[in-house]
């Protein structure tokens, strides 16, 4: 029975650790949820170990403990896949940001950024708009920018 107590104790420690991470913003809630669910599952099995036997018979596994091993492997596999998917999403976000930074830097260098940019374009994509009399990396006159700024808000 001490083994089961150990399992329940471990789960409680895990939950406490997760809460600490969550409170210090080192772990986002969407990743903590699955670990909470896992801890809950292990706790249930530890408190009621009898349920594993019928489950194993139902799944066609001869030794109940092997069902637990297989299930835990499956859970870890799913977690890894989820993390890979999250990395993919992060890489796509990084890529978009890198492109955006480069595009903005080029606009700044060309002096094409600011209220002179055409109102036809979204505010997220300022670009070369009205012709500039000063070709080169010089920015438009800041005072002129301030004067024209309110006009750009209107369609």
């Amino acid at each position: 029975m001490t083994g089961y107590a150990f399992a329940v104790g471990s789960c409680l420690a895990l939950v406490a650790f997760l809460l600490v991470l969550l409170r210090t913003r080192k772990l986002r809630e969407k990743y903590a949820v699955m670990w909470f669910v896992l801890a809950l599952g292990v706790s249930v099995l530890s408190l009621f170990p009898g349920v594993v036997g019928p489950l194993a018979r139902w799944a066609g596994v001869q030794t109940p403990v092997n069902l637990l091993f297989a299930a835990s492997l499956l859970v870890l596999l799913l977690v890894c896949i989820q993390l890979s998917a999250e990395i993919t999403a992060l890489e796509e976000e990084t890529r978009t940001l890198a492109e955006e930074v480069a595009l903005l830097r080029l606009d700044v260098e060309r002096g094409a950024i600011g209220p002179q940019a055409s109102a036809a374009q979204s505010s997220a994509a300022p670009s070369s708009g009205a012709p500039s009399s000063a070709p080169g990396p010089t920015a438009p006159d800041p005072a002129a920018q301030l004067d024209e700024a309110p006009q750009q808000q209107e369609p």
Partner: protein
């Protein structure tokens, strides 16, 4: 009124009066400081009406400095290495935001002849949405042997079927795109392996764009030769098949709404 030339990379006159289709040549460059200045010189000589945008894909050598030193080229300086796909999507986004009507992609290593840009543009004039400068279409003496050739043959066969036209060089980095293709690629241009070549063609096909090819000559690359190791060729084949299967079966977003003429200018 023709676009004013000789004003460096700015081309303001062309922005205000887009009578001719505005052409942007995008050159994705990664550590190409040795060859790039010569390519830019040739571009200025052969395609003087085009604006040239070099996308520096996180180079660790003097590529950015080489572009800045060149009077006729703009530099889009990516802070990270994103691969050709990432560099090209940035280029397409630049083209879309700045109202270009055509984009021609040209490799920075000098293997594409800038004199052939006119051929690719002519194909766009004939109504193609995506024009491919193809290496194996009879011109030049570029050859690939062994399993790598089989892989490229498979890609060509599948993509020719998808595009309903004969494509002999689907991995060519010498491309032209009109405004429809620019709008599509600015939104969706994969950074995956083979994504900038094979998958982008599949994306274009599935969006209903017309793809055509024109033979071009390939020059010998200045540095290094393509590998012919059978193992690498087998890996290439496997990745090509995977890229094809994913590209042909993945769910597609609806095609982008066409940009009204001159709206971004």
């Amino acid at each position: 009124m023709r676009p004013v030339r000789g004003r460096g990379p700015l081309g303001w006159a062309a922005v205000t009066a887009p009578v001719h289709p505005r052409l942007l040549v995008v050159v994705p460059a990664w550590n190409e400081e040795a060859v790039l200045p010569q390519v830019l010189d040739e571009l200025t000589a052969h395609v003087p009406e085009a604006d040239v945008l070099v996308v520096n894909d996180g180079s660790t050598d003097g590529t950015a400095a080489a572009v800045r030193a060149h009077p006729g080229a703009m530099l889009l300086d990516l802070p990270l290495n994103l691969g050709v796909g990432g560099a090209m999507r940035a280029g397409f986004r630049f083209a879309q935001r700045h109202g270009y009507d055509r984009v021609v992609q040209l490799d920075a290593d000098g293997q594409h002849n800038p004199a052939d840009v006119a051929r690719v543009v002519a194909l766009l004039d004939e109504g193609a949405d995506v024009a491919i400068g193809a290496r194996f279409a009879g011109e030049g003496d570029y050859r690939v042997r062994g399993p790598r050739r089989w892989a490229m043959g498979l890609l060509s066969a599948v993509l020719s079927r998808t595009a309903a036209t004969r494509l002999t060089d689907t991995t060519s980095g010498f491309r032209g795109a009109n405004s429809r293709a620019i709008a599509l690629f600015a939104r969706d241009y994969p950074a995956e392996y083979l994504g900038d070549t094979v998958e982008s063609l599949v994306i274009a096909c599935r969006a209903g764009l017309r793809i055509r090819q024109v033979p071009v000559t390939m020059r010998v690359r200045a540095g290094g030769t393509p590998s012919h190791s059978p193992l690498k060729a087998a890996v290439f084949l496997g990745r090509a098949v995977l890229a094809l299967v994913v590209a042909l079966t993945r769910p597609m977003a609806p095609p982008p709404v066409p940009r009204p003429a001159g709206a971004a200018a």
